[in-house]
Amino acid sequence: MSLSNIVIQFLNGLAGASSLFLVAAGLSIIFGVSRIVNFAHGSLYMLGIYIAYSLIEFFGRSSILGFWGGVLLAALIVGLIGVVIEMVILRRIYRAPELFQLLATFALVLVIKDVALYIWGAEDLLGPRAPGLRGAVQVFGRRLPEYDLLLIVIGPVVLGLLWLLMSRTRWGTLVRAATQDREMVGALGVNQTFLFTSVFFLGAFLAGLGGALQVPREPAQLMLDLTVISDAFVVVVVGGMGSIGGAFLAALLIAQAKAFCIGIGDVVVFGTTLSFTKFTLVVEFVIMAIVLVVRPWGLLGKPQAAQRGSTMVEPPLHPLGKTFWSVVLGLVILLAVAPLGGDDYLLVLLVDIAIFTLFAGTLHFLMGPAGMVSFGHAAYFGLGCYGAALVFLKLKLPMELAIFAGPLAAGLGALIFGWFCVRLSGVYLAMLTLAFAQIAWSVVFQWDEFTGGSNGLIGLWPSDWLKDRTVLYFVILAFCVGGMAFIWRVVHAPFGYVLRAGRDSPLRADAIGIDVRRFQWFGFAIAGALAGLSGALFAFSKGSISPETLAVSRSVDGLVMVLLGGVQTLTGPVAGAAVFTWLQDEIARNTEYWRAILGITILVIVLAFPQGIAGFVKQMMTRKGLLKEVAA
C-alpha cells in the first residue's frame, strides 16, 4: 500500500468511527447506570436514520438548515422514544432478573423493526448528501468527501462534551455514583427515577444522532438494528464497560481495522489469494476475542465489581419428582398420538417445536444450571446444520450417519470457542459467544465454494425409509426427547451439581478443589454438541439450509424461548419453545407484522410474569398446594 493510500484509509477509518462511538457511548452509559444490556440500542440507531431521512425529505433535500435541523430533531425524537421506553417498560423491571430485562429489550427490537417496516417499508432508503458539504477535498491526490471530514471532527467533539457533562456537572456526578451503587444514591435523597430516565434520554439521543449522521453515507434499512447492536457491543466490550473514553478508543481501533481491510483488498500470499475485504465482516469480532482473552475487562475498563443492590440468588433445583416425570410422560404420549390426526400442517409444526425445544433446552442448560449466558448459541445450531449437510452432500454418507456429523461438528466448535469463553463470566462471556457466532456466520456466509455462501445448501433429502412424514416425525421426536432426557440427567448428575456450585460460588468451589473452568468447558461442549444435533435434525426436516441458521436472530430466538419459559425451571425451554414456535408460525401466516405481535406478547408476559411461563405456573401450583414447598 502506498503512503497516500494509508492516509486515506486512516481518514476513512476516523470518519467511520464517529457514529460507532456515538452509539456505543450511549449503550455504555445506559448499561452503567441501569445495568440493562439494551439490545434495542441498535434499533434506536436505525430509527435515527429513518427519522432523519424523513425529516430531511420533508424540510427539503438541499436546504442546509433543513438537513442539520432534520439530523438534530431526529436525534431528539429518538431520545424521547428512549424516554417513553424507559418509563413504560424498563422502569417496571429494574428489579427483575437481568435476563428478563434482556428479554424485554429483545421484544423491543422486534416491535421497533415492524414499526419501521410499517412506516418506511422494506425498501432501502438512501438520503441526500449533506448540502454545502457535497464536495471533496484532495488529500495526497485522492478525494476525501467533505462530509467525512466533518464526521472526523464530530467524534472527538462529542467525546469532549460528554467528558464535561460527566465530570463537571452535578448530573454527571450522580450518574457516576449511581453506576457504582444506585441504591445508596437513592438513600441519599436522589430521585433515581428521574436520573434513570434522563440517562435513557441521553443514551437514546446519542444512538439517534449516530444514526442520523449516517444518512448521507448509508441507506436506511431494516437490518441495521442487529448489525449495529453487535458492532456497538463489540465497541463497548473492547473499550471496557462503562468507559466512554474506552468506547472512543475501541471505535477508532475497529473502524481503522475495517477501513484497512477494505483498503488492502486482495493479497496474494504463497500463491493463494487472501481477501481482506471479506475479512471486514469478522475483523471486529477477532479484535474483541483477542481483547477479551488478553484483557477481559476491556482496554480502559476496570475489573468489574458487581453492582450493589442487584444480586440475584438462583433457587435450588429440586430433584425431579414423580409429578415431573408423569407430566413428561403425558406429553410424550400426546406427541406420539398426534400424527393419528393426519394433519400434515400440525406435523410440521410439531417437528419444529421438537427441534427448537432441544435447541432451547441446550441453551437453557448453559444459562441456568451452568450459569453461562450465550448470545451466540446459533453458532452450534448452524454448525450442526452445516456439519450434517456437508457430510451428506460432499462425502455422500447416508443421512443416518450424516446426522451424527452435526453434533460432532458443533461439539468440536464448542470445545474450541468454549475454551476461550469459560475464561470470562457474565456479560463479557455473553459478548464473546456472540463474537464467535458472528465469526462462524461470516465464514459460512462468504465461503461460497464450500458452504454455498448466502444461498446455502439444498438437496438434503432423508433416506427412503424416512420419506414418510410420520416416520420422520417419530425419528426426530425420538432424538429430541432423548436429547432432553440426557440434559436432565446431566443436570441431576454430580456433573450438574458441580456446575451449579461453580455458578453460585465460584470461589468456594475452587477452594474445595473443583476445577470450575474445566467443568464449564465440558458443559459448554455438551450444550454445543446437542444444539448441533438439533441443527442436524433441522437440516433434514427442511431439506435446505442457509447462513440464517447461525445468524444473530437465531440466537435471539433461542434466548427468547428460554427466557419466555423461565430460566429457573427445567421444563421452561419446552414451554418457551412451544409457545414461541407456535406463535411465530400462527401469526406469521396471518400478518406481515408477526414480529411486533410477538414482541408485544413478550412484553406483556415480561411485565405480568417476571418469572417466565413455567415459573408462573409453578408459583400458582405452589400457592394452590399442588406442589410441595421446599423449606426455605
Binding site: T173, R176, G186, A187
Partner: protein, 238 residues
C-alpha cells in the same frame, strides 16, 4: 423529657424472603436525643436501620417521622424529609473524589436542621479537608467512615441513622467518633445509633434499646443500663 417522638417505630415486622427478621419491633427517638440500639451480630440492627430508610420493605407495622408515615415511601423521599442514613458498610463511591462524594449527598438547607457545607464539614473532619480530590477508594477505613457521615450530613438531616460507626476503627478514632457524635447532638441533630460496643455507646447515648433475634428485649436510659450488670451479661456479652 416530654418532647414528642421524632422517629417512632411501632410493631415493625420485616422479612428477607421467608425469613422473619424483625418481630413486633417498637422504638422511638425524641428530638435532640442520641439513642442506641445495642445487639450482637445478626440481631437485626442493620435491618432496623434499613427498614427505616426504606431499603427493605416493612411487612407490617408503622414507621413515623415527625408525625408522618414513611413506611411506604421510597428511600429518596424519606431522605428528603430530613432523615439521613449512614450504612454500616460505608458504601463510599470509590471512583468519586471526596468533594464529589459530598456533592452526591447534597440537599437544600432545611428548617430546624443544621446546614452543612463542605467547609463546615472539614472543620468537623479535618482529615477530609486535606484530601478533597482523593478518590474514595484510596482512603483508609477510618477516613471512609468520616466521609460517609459527612456525605449524609450534606443532606442537612434532622435525624441520622448511624449503623455501627465504631466498627473496625482504632481506639483513638473511636474516641474521635464519639466526640463527633456529641458535637452533632450539640448542633441539634437527633441520632439513632446501632452498636455492639457498649463502651462507645456509654460515651454518647442518652437512651438504649437492646435487640436480640429481631425483638426488643430491653429499654432504658443509658445510665440504667450501665448500672444493670445482669441485663448486660444476658444480652451483650459475647
Amino acid at each position: 423529657m416530654t418532647t414528642a417522638a421524632m422517629l417512632k417505630i411501632t410493631g415493625l415486622n420485616t422479612y428477607y424472603g421467608r425469613a422473619h427478621i424483625l418481630s413486633d419491633l417498637s422504638l422511638e427517638a425524641r428530638r435532640g436525643e442520641v439513642v442506641v440500639l445495642l445487639g450482637r451480630n445478626g440481631a437485626g440492627k442493620s435491618t432496623t436501620m434499613k427498614s427505616v430508610i426504606g431499603l427493605v420493605a416493612a411487612a407490617r407495622g408503622t414507621i413515623e417521622f415527625e408525625g408522618e408515615r414513611i413506611d411506604n415511601l421510597a428511600p429518596y423521599r424519606i431522605a428528603r424529609l430530613g432523615l439521613g442514613y449512614v450504612p454500616e458498610e460505608r458504601r463510599i463511591f470509590t471512583e468519586l473524589s471526596v468533594m464529589e462524594n459530598l456533592e452526591v449527598g447534597r440537599q437544600s438547607p432545611r428548617d430546624g436542621a443544621p446546614t452543612w457545607t463542605p467547609d463546615r464539614l472539614f472543620e468537623l473532619f479535618p482529615n477530609l479537608g486535606r484530601m478533597k480530590d482523593r478518590p474514595g477508594g484510596r482512603m483508609s477505613g477510618g477516613e471512609q467512615q468520616m466521609l460517609t457521615i459527612a456525605r449524609t450530613l450534606m443532606g442537612n438531616p434532622r435525624l441520622i441513622l448511624l449503623d455501627e460507626p465504631s466498627e473496625g476503627l482504632a481506639p483513638v478514632i473511636v474516641e474521635q467518633m464519639a466526640k463527633t457524635i456529641l458535637q452533632l447532638k450539640a448542633e441539634g441533630l437527633t441520632v439513632l445509633l446501632s452498636e455492639q460496643n457498649l463502651h462507645f455507646s456509654q460515651m454518647v447515648a442518652d437512651r438504649a434499646y437492646i435487640i436480640e433475634k429481631g425483638r426488643i428485649r430491653y429499654q432504658g436510659t443509658m445510665a440504667e443500663l450501665s448500672a444493670d450488670a445482669a441485663v448486660r451479661e444476658q444480652y451483650l456479652s459475647v
